[in-house]
């Protein structure tokens, strides 16, 4: 069974009298433990598609199943719960909470979303810190680590709740070439280690050349 299945998916934004069709009837599937990239120029609909898969934005029409559940009409509360249970996020700007330490950032979804007991949380965070190569850095604040390290922490946070699907919006856009490759290698390693699917939106060739499945978007449609 595919992890994500979209059929004739559309998204239309209405601003006053203007109607903007961001996604125009796309079909695709994403299998478990895959490394998928949505590529295309700015405004092609990559982020919109990721937002819909991530239950941050509901589709206008069509069907969308994620982890076997129809997510087209979830309420705000149910969407949040679904994201917390099944989806991890990696952002272009890392989006670590500045007042929390590295350890606390990774711990956040376990503490505030999934209510894990303290000991299990600590064990899981230590495990992830080791997995992303950030051992001994847990007490640092985001402002005290480099961009590459921040993205490693973001990967660890996305993996913390054992999500089967991680959505990464332009994850290497703010990283230099060497660091970007290291992050991609890390994500692949995590995919192999935890069986997690990584889905990217990107126009970065570094990411594209490492993707196993590539969907190219243009004007809200998948070309291939």
């Amino acid at each position: 069974m595919p992890l994500v299945a979209a059929r004739n998916l559309t998204k239309t934004y209405i601003s006053g009298d203007i109607e903007v069709k961001a996604i125009r009837g796309v079909d695709f599937t994403i299998e478990p433990a895959s490394f998928v990239s949505f590529v295309g120029p700015s405004g092609s609909g990559k982020s919109t598609l990721l937002n819909m898969i991530g239950c941050l934005d509901p589709p206008s029409s069509g069907s969308l199943e994620v982890v076997g559940q129809d997510v087209t009409s979830l309420s705000a509360r149910d969407s949040a719960r679904f994201r917390g249970d099944h989806i991890g996020f990696i952002f272009q700007d890392f989006n670590l909470i500045p007042v929390l330490t590295v350890f606390e950032n990774i711990e956040y979804p376990l503490q505030m979303v999934q209510n894990w007991p303290v000991e299990q949380r600590q064990h899981r965070v230590q495990e992830l810190l080791a997995a992303v190569g950030m051992e001994g850095q847990g007490n640092k604040r985001p402002s005290q680590i480099s961009g590459g390290q921040k993205q490693r922490v973001a990967v660890a946070r996305a993996l913390a709740s054992k999500a089967k699907l991680i959505l990464a919006d332009e994850p290497t856009a703010n990283l230099d070439r060497v660091t970007a490759f290291k992050i991609i290698d890390l994500m692949k390693k995590m995919r192999d280690e935890f069986g997690t699917s990584f889905v990217f939106s990107t126009h970065d060739p570094k990411v594209v050349e490492n993707a196993e499945i590539i969907y190219t978007l243009e004007d809200g449609k998948i070309l291939q």
Binding site: N51, G54, L56, D57, A76, R77, A80, R81, F82, R83, G84, D85, I87, G88, F89, F91, N95, I97, P98, V99, L100, E104, Y108, P109, Q111, M112, V113, Q114, N115, R157, A158, S161
Partner: protein, 414 residues
């Protein structure tokens, strides 16, 4: 919920400057109100004490209708000997009554042999009067305070002493009309000069009961007024109810009540001033509420605005709207608790310090009055609950806004 509290506490710790600023504002508000309440309460208690302990007592019993005719000092409305005995039985059986003093109130002509003027007088048993209104002796500006009065002596109000140029030891004559209409005169020696105070009876002179009966040619033990001192003034309303009920059983031939009883509040105009002090305290409390509300709302609105991106992130990774709402409300609650705890501590220390240093002040002619601020646990608890409640209320709108934020819009915010 514990996780939300921990997270809220951690956020407050990490956003330290904002936390300190807000809690300082709350602290200032709490300290201002508690100190104002305690100091104004001290003034009020002192003024009430002056009135009840130097003149009125806590409760007064008269014949029915006497109080409304009090300006005329009507002799024909005095309590008879039998009635007085009944009242005495009731008062003696009530343990809340510490003492009581029988008074005959009457008007007379006061002469220094050169001039004559009107004087209002209280005839009292000195021993009972001092037990009932112990601060009366402190009102004696000149003359012997010990024992208050001896037979043949009179305490005269300061205004008459000055106006008639009468000094301690001078001989004066009182001429009074009794209730039968006959006139009698009697010489007295001036024992002391009394400070006048505001309120009914505040400018009256004092003579002994036996002297008054002789002057007024009273054959029966008539009494105009019985002033009562209670062991605990805080029980005044309760004791008033008990005595009113007991006295209410006595009816005249027309089945009308024989007695009337009043609290000092009903008799003294100062009660209105006391109520104004309470009203001022109430408005100060409202100002505190406004300060706390505005400061908390301001800080929480800024907190939400500064943390839009953070809110978007936590919403995206699965924190539900309810938890975001609870998180910000808890931050407001903790800010309220922190500010209130510090404010209450500072206030209590300040009150203790003021009491320990024995700050004295002059009020009118009274010198060296001690400032003795006190605050009741009830006031502290009420003010604390109001402040903490307002802190939560002030966080409500920003917290609601945060919880309803669209994660995508919030994530785009720079």
């Amino acid at each position: 919920m514990l996780n939300i509290i921990k997270m809220a506490a951690r956020n407050l710790r990490r956003y330290l400057r904002r936390t300190l600023l807000t809690s300082a504002l709350i602290t200032m508000g709490v300290v201002s109100v508690l100190l104002f309440v305690s100091v104004s309460g001290s003034f009020k208690a002192m003024m009430v004490g002056q009135i009840t302990d130097s003149m009125l007592g806590h409760l007064q019993i008269h014949g029915k209708g006497y109080l409304s005719s009090m300006d005329n000092l009507p002799m024909n409305m005095n309590l008879t000997g039998k009635q007085v005995t009944k009242v005495q039985e009731i008062l003696d059986s009530n343990k809340a009554v510490e003492s009581y003093s029988m008074r005959i109130k009457f008007g007379a002509m006061f002469s220094n042999y050169n001039e004559t003027t009107n004087i209002r007088l209280n005839a009292v048993d000195p021993e009972q009067e001092l037990k009932t209104v112990p601060l009366l002796a402190d009102r004696i500006l000149e003359g012997e305070k010990e024992g208050l009065l001896l037979p043949g002596e009179i305490l005269i109000p300061e205004l008459i002493a000055k106006g008639m140029k009468v000094a301690i030891g001078d001989s004066v004559v009182l001429v009074a009309t009794n209730k039968d209409g006959s006139v009698n005169g009697q010489p007295f020696t001036v024992r002391g000069i009394l400070e006048g105070i505001s309120g009914p009876g505040g400018r009256d002179g004092y003579v002994g009961l036996a002297d008054a009966r002789s002057l007024l040619r009273m054959e029966e033990q008539e009494i105009s007024e019985i002033a009562i001192r209670l062991t605990n003034p805080d029980q005044m309303k309760g004791v008033f109810g008990q005595l009113e009920s007991a006295l209410g059983e006595f009816k005249n031939k027309k089945d009308k009540p024989v007695f009337e009883i009043h609290t000092w509040e009903k008799i003294s105009p100062f009660f209105n001033i006391a109520q104004m002090i309470d009203l001022m305290t109430f408005f100060i409390k409202i100002m505190l509420v406004a300060i706390v509300l505005v400061s908390i709302m301001n800080v929480m609105i800024m907190a939400v605005y500064e943390r839009i991106n953070e809110i978007g992130t936590i919403a995206a990774i699965g924190t539900g709207p309810g938890k975001i709402l609870a998180l910000f409300l808890t931050e407001g609650l903790l800010l309220g608790l922190l500010g209130t705890a510090i404010g209450v501590s500072i206030s209590l220390i300040a009150i203790m310090t003021m009491n320990a240093t024995q700050i004295s002040f002059d009020f009118g002619r009274q010198q060296g009055l001690l400032l003795a601020p006190t605050i009741g646990a009830g006031d502290v608890i009420t003010i604390s609950i109001i402040v903490i409640g307002i802190a939560v209320l002030g966080s409500l709108q920003p917290a609601w806004k945060a919880s309803r934020m669209d994660p995508i819009e919030a994530l785009r915010h720079v």
